[in-house]
């Protein structure tokens, strides 16, 4: 009985811990790798406590903040998601921290010879895109609208990484992903002309639970150290 009570206590305590020293980052899927490096670089200048990462689709991040998940800083792949989160938390402002472009992901070496967005309208091809509910999907919709291309995707994936995976595994012939996603390797990117390619903006929001250290982290992202990490991962300033 005592053992069980103690175990319960530890679980409850664990669930409540966090605000003091640990910083929990909730990041959009496309920021997974760069965030790990950002966390490390930040720890070097601010070694007060651990920095933990939690990557999910941006729409999940909103649900998590709405549901009171113990996040201290949120990094999103569009302004709308960041604004929704800032409004829910009602503490920090949205800060633009980096940029990106969209690109067509195809199998290594582009065996099907896909050259442009208009090539994707071919009904023979299996195309996957991110669902409209997530930022990558919203950017994809905008891009297709500008290109005046109508395509019937095989799947609206829950995150841009889902799109990437389906192309990498050979389940899909092509997908629309972020330029930076290509760095994971095993995949070829077909550039999309600037005339139709939307500008992708990344935003950070410091949440109230993170206090001054969360604000400090967001400020760090804008320093040359932080921007260098973004650049190393292929992000635009």
């Amino acid at each position: 009985m005592q053992v069980m009570a103690a175990a319960l206590l530890v679980m409850v305590a664990g669930a409540c811990a966090g605000p003091d020293s640990e910083l929990v980052l909730g990041v959009a899927s496309s920021l997974n790798e760069v965030s790990a490096d950002l966390a490390e670089a930040f720890s070097a200048v601010s070694p007060d406590g651990d920095v933990q990462l939690s990557a999910s689709g941006s729409q999940v991040l909103v649900s998590q903040v709405r549901g009171g998940a113990p996040l201290d800083v949120v990094l999103t792949a569009d302004a709308a998601t960041a604004q929704a989160i800032a409004a829910l938390d009602g503490w920090g402002d949205t800060v633009r921290v980096a940029g990106n472009r969209m690109v067509i992901a195809v199998a290594e070496g582009n065996p099907l010879g896909i050259e442009a967005v208009s090539d994707l309208a071919n009904g023979e091809l299996t195309i996957v895109v991110a669902a409209s509910e997530v930022p990558a999907g919203a950017y994809t919709d905008e891009l297709l609208r500008r290109a005046n291309v109508r395509l019937i995707p095989a799947s609206n994936e829950a995150s841009v990484r889902g799109v990437l995976t389906k192309v990498r595994l050979g389940e899909a012939d092509a997908g629309i992903v972020y330029q930076t996603d290509l760095l994971v390797g095993g995949i070829t990117g077909v550039p999309i002309s600037d005339a139709i390619n939307p500008t992708v903006d990344y935003y950070a929001v410091a949440l109230e639970s993170g206090g001054s250290r969360a604000t400090e982290f967001v400020e760090f992202l804008l320093t040359s150290d932080g921007q260098q990490v973004f650049a190393k991962h292929g992000f635009a300033p």
Partner: protein, 256 residues
């Protein structure tokens, strides 16, 4: 003799009940009841996909699970324990792992999926058939487990009598074992169907998400949560009600 339940056990049991029931009550509290029917109406497409996928998956799961249950209940071969563990594994497997496994084997570039593609031009990922396969994968163990338990309860003497009257193994299975195990089999059907209906992780991983083709009700709820949380609450309650009904039916046929 006293039959009192020790206080400490009762207290922990209460905590257990609260843990399981409070989230559901919280969900009921948040549902916009005035818009409930409208929300459900807007999800007609996902409802249709769920109805088709869960029905076909149940049919497949029963077709495969009942014979498996019989083999496990009556087989005397070596390795039966290993076979049972293998068949029941999807119950404890994280659904996303089931999806990854399906993708690795039945995907276009997987060993079996590649063969299907080359020989018949069939690709399962991103198709309704793929969603059925994912739902069947997780439903078969439930049908098998309950069918095996049901077949174990079959009176062997009746089978022996049938045998002396000249009934062969297939006839004994159909005319003696099946009727006796019928309540258990019915429970297995309902549980398997409920599991197929609720499938999420394996479906989104293996079959993807396309409204009108692979977007089942659980997937629709997941995406609706961002667009319109209230609609997601309504659809969640719908699935809770269906699950409660399924449990009630399964219990009625099981406990008799």
């Amino acid at each position: 003799m006293t039959r009192q339940i020790p206080t400490r056990l009762a207290a922990l049991a209460v905590v257990g009940v609260l843990l399981v029931s409070l989230p559901l009550l919280g969900l009921l509290a948040r549902v916009p009841w005035t818009g409930f029917l409208g929300d459900v109406d807007d999800a007609t497409q996902a409802l249709q996909i769920s109805a088709v996928v869960s029905a076909l998956a149940t049919l497949a799961a029963v077709t495969l699970g009942v014979p498996l249950g019989w083999v496990l209940a009556r087989g005397t071969f070596r390795g039966r324990t290993v076979l049972r563990a293998a068949v029941l594994l999807p119950i404890v497997l994280p659904p996303v792992v089931s999806g990854v496994a399906l993708l690795a084997s039945l995907g276009r570039s997987g060993p079996v999926g590649g063969l299907l593609d080359d020989l018949f031009g069939i690709t399962l990922p991103f198709t309704t058939a793929g969603a059925v396969v994912a739902a069947t994968f997780v439903a078969v163990p439930f049908v098998t487990l309950v069918a095996e338990a049901g077949f174990r309860g079959v009176d062997r003497e009746l089978e022996d009598i049938a045998a002396t009257l000249g009934a062969g193994p297939w006839r004994r299975f159909r005319r003696v074992a099946i009727p006796q195990a019928a309540p258990a089999l019915a429970a297995g059907v309902v549980l398997g169907w409920a599991r197929a209906l609720g499938e999420f992780g394996a479906t989104i991983t293996f079959a993807g998400n396309l409204p009108g083709r692979t977007q089942t009700l659980p997937l629709a709820i997941f995406f609706e949560l961002e667009q319109d949380p209230e609609a997601a609450f309504s659809l969640s309650v719908l699935l809770v009600l269906v699950s409660v009904a399924a449990l009630a039916v399964a219990r009625r046929s099981w406990v008799r």
